[in-house]
Symmetry: C2
Subunit: 467 residues, 2 copies
């Protein structure tokens, strides 16, 4: 069962089949784990040889902590730079510790400039210094330049190696140049044309270069409508642009409009993924470092920060209820119905918040239509408020045999759902305006708002009308 | 201010600058809207001419409903297929209605096969029939074949037009073939090599074709480690594979291992985006059709379904509180503290759920480590439970001057946070096992679980220990 050779045969080597596509089967991870336990080192080494570098990274990530260290130790003599580039940030930390900085410097030296920057930026300051010092001067300069751009900017994302030729060349000259230049990057999809000042003037997809006769001038087939990306552009903006325009690569320019690098779609795919993750985690009130691979203590710490913020908000809700302590004492049915008021308001506000945060990310919700959107959400809240007010009001009447109580909760539901629509849509817009990520509003914070409002309105109306 | 020519000048034509990148400024949308009001038709037409097709789609989406119809009417004589391909699903519906099916058929005829399938699949059955009947037989066959694949499968996603050559050719032969074949697709990044049965045997990135001498045999420079995608593979699986392997394109094969199409990364970017959106919307209990552009009534309907489900869950929580009605009557402080118990459990369970759903999507959380993950979440819940139990217990003691009450809420918090960790991690795993999307667990459903458990434990302990 747990013999590695069997697993190796099961693992498809040259093609993908069914749902196991590109993903190591659990059995393989278990088998490696057992082989490590039983010290069958050569078997593990042979098995890892077979795998694609993304699968090796996957394997390292999915092993439990101690086994992970042993496997990394086993591979440390000749650690594959491609594997390093694929590692999850949280796991990367541990791998760096296990390898030691000298070894890390060697691995980094073997990486493309954009991947190398990704690894080095994760290190502590003194670790960065040590790794950079161990590199050759040219490697160090490239990485230091990369690090000099703001975090999450196009400069960090781009690959420095570009394929650019003078715009007055012919197709034949360009092909000959590409054939003869030994150290050209292998990773390019468009040919960039530059003027003598190295400013990009046009682009040609490789398919078009290939399909054109040698004698044709490049500037006759180039697209002059270039999407040039300033080196300081935020990566979220870059991702939006790639997605909207279906770009495969785009030239990056410095302040003097000179070509300094290229961003390719595979890096953008990672950014899109990261940005989404950031949204989803922030909406839930979870730190971005909260990862399945994170240690228990780190997870406890990261979650407790948000729990504490929500505790304060819950304290406010409790204080509101406290104001009406006498009212509840006289009519305990109010306490029983409080969860219903809270759940309706909470659900409606989270729904609205999510739609709004997503619309802001998609550039659909902008200052121009903010008023219209908030207005729409208020109407939606009002309409659902009436619908659920009737249902809940009737159910309350039936349950407690108290028509007035039914009326009070109905009114409270309508008001709370209108507030949920207002707060859920306006809060992210305001946060965005103030320069914050709209997702930090967080579903739990909004829920606290609707709790406070809902309890105040419900218990307040009860005190006013019922007693 | 509202003159279109001014806006046209403001709109960058050949380059992107700053944060307005690829995104129409609000002022431009407003100006078009005003121009439509004032019937300055020619101005609007001229302005739209200037825009990239993605920007035209953006403009149509961002105009209010009535203006949107007028603009579409204006463009209807010669509606750009590329614009149609970029439209948001919700807006597409309206545009189809406005254009009429004859016109839509004409537009669809001008689209790539994958984009055409995207549009046709959104139509009602009788509309599909009518549009398909109006197409030429070859167009119709391509689209009908596309529609015959399961929704969200690789077959729907792929482009049928492939560039494949016999594997025994030389680089020179391939280049000549590409130069001489008139109706080759312009949208390709890799050259596929096929055997006589049209089964793919290798792939070569165009950059490598370009950099190799003409006399070299293609099979000498091809990569034989092909990532072949079965036509039935789910698009989520396809997206995972592209992201993990940094693919730009991948060949799609039918049951007989024959090359039937190609998936390119630009389509995958859209899938990644859609899948993320699905997760984020489901976690919040919002229907996927809930869009900023959706009509108010559609939004009310889509939200009310989830509100209703949560109402039932909230009813359960209320019923639990109802059981302890007598207890609350004797000690109203319990009602005041209920929101705190609910908020802590709700926040912790949503945090856990979000991390788990994300880990499942990333293939990090698998059956193999499910037990370990749930175990970790329980420990995290326990640790934070103790931390917050102490804080809340002391605060309660101070507030109500009742040490026992502090002890009871402390105990309830610990138990509720452990349950939150257990439910938040186990529920998505179980759902996934049963073949459901783990995100449908939804944050509000989980919150109801922690409400019910939290109230039961808190009020039950109070009844047992305090009275």
């Amino acid at each position: 069962m747990a013999d590695l050779p069997t697993e190796t045969e099961e693992q498809p080597e040259t093609e993908i089949s069914g749902s196991a596509a590109g993903h190591l089967p659990d059995a393989a991870v278990r088998a490696v784990s057992e082989a490590l336990d039983e010290n069958r080192i050569d078997e593990v080494r042979d098995y890892v040889e077979f795998l694609h570098h993304a699968e090796v990274a996957d394997l390292i990530e999915r092993l439990p902590g101690d086994k992970r260290d042993r496997l990394v130790g086993l591979l440390s003599d000749d650690f594959d730079p491609n594997v390093m580039a694929e590692l999850d940030e949280t796991v990367l930390d541990g791998v760096v510790d296990r390898l030691g900085l000298d070894q890390v410097a060697q691995v980094v030296a073997g990486m493309d400039s954009d991947d190398a920057v990704d690894v080095v930026e994760e290190l502590e300051d003194h670790e960065q210094r040590e790794v950079l010092d161990a590199l050759s001067e040219s490697d160090r300069t490239l990485i230091e330049e990369g690090l000099s751009y703001p975090e999450d900017s196009a400069g960090r994302l781009m690959q420095r190696e570009t394929v650019a030729v003078p715009s007055h060349w012919t197709v034949g000259q360009a092909i000959d140049y590409m054939r003869e230049t030994e150290d050209l990057t292998t990773h390019f999809f468009d040919l960039y044309l530059v003027d003598p000042r190295h400013q990009p003037v046009g682009t040609i997809p490789l398919s078009r270069v290939l399909r054109t006769q040698r004698h044709v001038a490049l500037n006759a087939i180039m697209s002059a409508e270039l999407r040039k990306i300033p080196v300081t552009m935020d990566q979220e903006e870059v991702a939006f642009l790639f997605r909207q325009r279906d770009l495969i690569s785009a030239p990056v320019i410095d302040g003097s409009n000179r070509l300094v690098g290229v961003i390719t779609v595979d890096d953008v795919v990672d950014v899109i993924h990261e940005e989404h993750e950031e949204d989803i985690m922030r909406l839930a009130g979870v730190g971005e470092e909260d990862d399945l691979y994170a240690a228990i203590w780190a997870t406890v710490r990261s979650r407790s920060t948000w729990l504490f913020i929500h505790l304060i908000a819950a304290g406010a809700a409790a204080a509101v209820v406290g104001i009406f302590r006498g009212t509840i004492e006289q009519m305990v049915a109010l306490a029983i119905l409080m969860p219903v008021v809270a759940a309706m308001g909470g659900t409606a506000s989270v729904q609205t918040l999510t739609v709004a945060v997503r619309a802001i990310a998609m550039r659909e919700l902008t200052p121009a239509n903010a008023f219209r959107t908030v207005g729409k959400e208020i109407i939606v809240g009002f309409a659902n408020g009436i619908l659920f007010a009737v249902m809940i009001g009737l159910a309350t009447w039936a349950w407690f045999g108290n028509l007035e109580l039914g009326g009070v909760i109905a009114l409270a539901i309508i008001i709370n759902l209108v507030v949920a629509g207002l707060a859920g849509s306006a809060l992210p817009v305001v946060l965005q305006r103030m320069g914050f990520d709209p997702a930090v509003a967080g579903s739990a914070l909004l829920t606290s708002i609707t709790d406070v409002v809902g309890f105040y309105v419900f218990l307040g109306l009860a005190a006013l009308l019922l007693l």
